[in-house]
């Protein structure tokens, strides 16, 4: 490609509300990195996700950006739709980025890719490797209960809804087990699919709770084979925090709905570590995880 080291393609697959935007901005500061015109390309969710309601929602958002008779579509929106019509154009786009300047890393960090089926992941890998990319997958996880709370808060913020404690709890109770929240929270299923599509050495697992630490960022830079730059840990993006405390019983309900996630992640990454990192794991059959 540029005659130097093999360029890396970072495929960020979530989780949503687990620090992916912060990481994207941090990596994008490096002159050796160019992610193109958007953080989340949302190509493969709209084409491959099995759940028709979720898939159609992503697809239809893309189409409606273009065909809205009251607005002139932006060039970026046209490009995104073109990628949907022909994913070869998506892969070509990244190849062009690497030809334009001697960069080392490009990629797409779309959190809903956490819900992609194995065949989609295999397709992406094959296409990227065929174009000479070294594929690197990053999956950041966060305590399932906190992730759902944060997701609900973001939703209320974006909908400009009133954000009282009552409203937050009602929305959480309504949505925590919805197909969309499950898709973004069942890290166990995402990991299984990632590991049947990629080699272990191509996947980096991280945790939101320890992301904003020098050591974690260093590990990510090493994994992506780019030089470490001092991060700005005070910067937070897409913050949806409020001061309302979600009640214990509701937290417990959400935690129990994601019991397989707590169990799987604890078994894979260490029980004590997860109990410390994810306080809501205490709701999952005390002492059992």
């Amino acid at each position: 490609m540029n005659g130097r080291s093999t360029p890396r393609f970072l495929l960020g697959v979530g989780a949503q509300k687990a620090g992916t935007t912060w990481l994207h901005q941090y990596l994008g500061r490096s002159p050796r990195v160019d992610f193109g015109f958007v953080k989340e390309y949302h190509v493969f969710d709209a084409l491959f996700i099995d759940d028709p309601v979720i898939r159609q929602a992503y697809l239809q958002r893309r189409i409606n950006d273009i065909v809205d008779p009251t607005r002139v579509p932006g060039l970026d929106q046209l490009r995104l739709l073109r990628f949907l019509g022909d994913p070869a154009a998506y892969f070509d786009h990244f190849e062009k980025i690497c030809r334009r300047r001697p960069i080392e890393l490009t990629g797409d960090m779309t959190p809903s890719y956490a819900g992609l089926p194995t065949e989609a992941l295999r397709f992406i890998r094959a296409q990227l490797e065929q174009r000479g990319f070294a594929v690197r997958v990053v999956f950041l996880m966060r305590d399932p209960v906190e992730r759902c709370i944060s997701s609900v808060r973001m939703r209320l913020r974006l909908a400009q809804a009133e954000r009282t404690r009552t409203e937050e709890e009602a929305t959480l109770a309504e949505l925590y087990a919805s197909p969309g929240q499950q898709m973004r929270t069942r890290y166990d299923l995402t990991i299984e699919r990632l590991e049947s599509a990629f080699d272990a050495s191509q996947i980096h697992y991280g945790f939101y709770e320890t992301l904003f630490e020098t050591a974690s960022v260093r590990r990510i830079c090493d994994f992506l084979a780019i030089p470490y730059l001092e991060p700005d840990f005070d910067k937070r993006v897409n913050v949806s925090r409020t001061d309302h405390a979600v009640s214990e019983p509701l937290r417990a309900t959400v935690a129990r709905a994601y019991e397989p996630v707590y169990r799987f992640v604890a078994a894979k990454f260490g029980h004590e570590w997860i109990e410390r990192l994810w306080p809501s794991s205490r709701y999952v059959r005390p002492g059992m995880i």
């Binding site: 028709p52 697809l59 073109r82 019509g85």
Partner: protein, 281 residues
């Protein structure tokens, strides 16, 4: 009087274009700007490769860097972006008091899952339509052969007896052929959603006949008008003879269709209409 919406769900190569031409030519219908709107196949078909093919064709029509999109292509993409626009469009067509019937005859809808049929029915009935569904079936071997011949004609591939047989031997097993030939599955999905009186099953082999057209008009609540029975459309016929061994192979691959249709519509009738049934063991 409620207006009728005809949802044609195939089969592909089962006479749907002839029927659409007949309906379009009547003064009491308005079928809109197209025969096959291809909205729900691109959104709902479970088989991911097929669904994406329909979807991506629609998108490519619009975003091709070398051509300006046509207005009808933009409309189709708009329907995909929000099917409410599709349903609203047909409702608008029916505001004309002369129009008694409108509809969409898209043969690949034969592959739609139950949830898609349920959604279409609900949306149409919510808008006051009397929904009628039509499935025209054709001998599975002949249907696959006709589809293969049409594909070769469109692809400008020389059509000899050998080249047709070689392709049919492969094509009939493809998911796209299965989706269009498994009438048994289509029937089961339709009947999970629609009431019996909403569905009309016809046979290509007896379509070009006054009695069938009469029955169809009655089903659609339209007065009978004389059709042009000599007219053929999208014809891909050749004189090449297909070897019996290959007929038997294709028939055997769709044995469950011959069986289910025979049980449902009468063994003797289906044996007479579909000669390839004799190859089913």
């Amino acid at each position: 009087m409620p207006k009728t919406f005809l949802l044609g769900v195939g089969a592909h190569k089962g006479g749907t274009t002839w029927l659409h031409d007949y309906l379009k030519g009547r003064p009491d219908t308005d079928m809109g700007f197209l025969k096959e709107y291809h909205v729900f196949d691109a959104l709902f078909i479970d088989e991911a490769v097929i669904r994406r093919k329909f979807l991506q064709q629609r998108i490519k029509d619009i975003v091709s860097p070398t051509r300006w999109p046509r207005l009808d292509q933009l409309r189709l993409l708009r329907f995909l972006g929000n099917p409410e626009h599709y349903f609203d469009y047909f409702q608008r067509l029916c505001r004309d008091p002369r129009v008694k019937l409108t509809g969409d005859i898209t043969p690949s809808y034969s592959g739609l899952p139950i949830e898609a049929f349920g959604y279409i029915k609900q949306q149409l009935e919510q808008r006051g339509f009397d929904v009628k569904v039509l499935l025209l079936m054709r001998d599975p071997v002949e249907r696959c052969l006709s589809a293969t011949r049409m594909w070769m004609r469109h692809s400008r591939i020389e059509r000899t007896a050998e080249s047709e047989a070689a392709r049919l031997a492969v094509f009939h097993q493809l998911p796209g052929y299965r989706l269009r030939t498994r009438y048994d599955l289509t029937i089961a999905n339709l009947e999970a959603v629609f009431r019996p009186e909403q569905i009309f099953y016809g046979f290509y082999e007896e379509l070009f006949d006054q009695a069938s057209v009469r029955a169809l008009c009655r089903f659609l609540g339209l007065p009978y008008l004389e059709p042009d029975l000599a007219k053929r459309v999208n014809e891909s016929r050749t004189d090449h003879v297909l070897p019996d061994a290959l007929r038997a192979e294709v028939a055997q691959a769709y044995a469950m269709v011959y069986r289910a249709v025979g049980e449902r519509f009468g063994q003797a009738r289906v044996a007479a209409l579909w000669p390839n049934q004799r190859f089913v063991r």
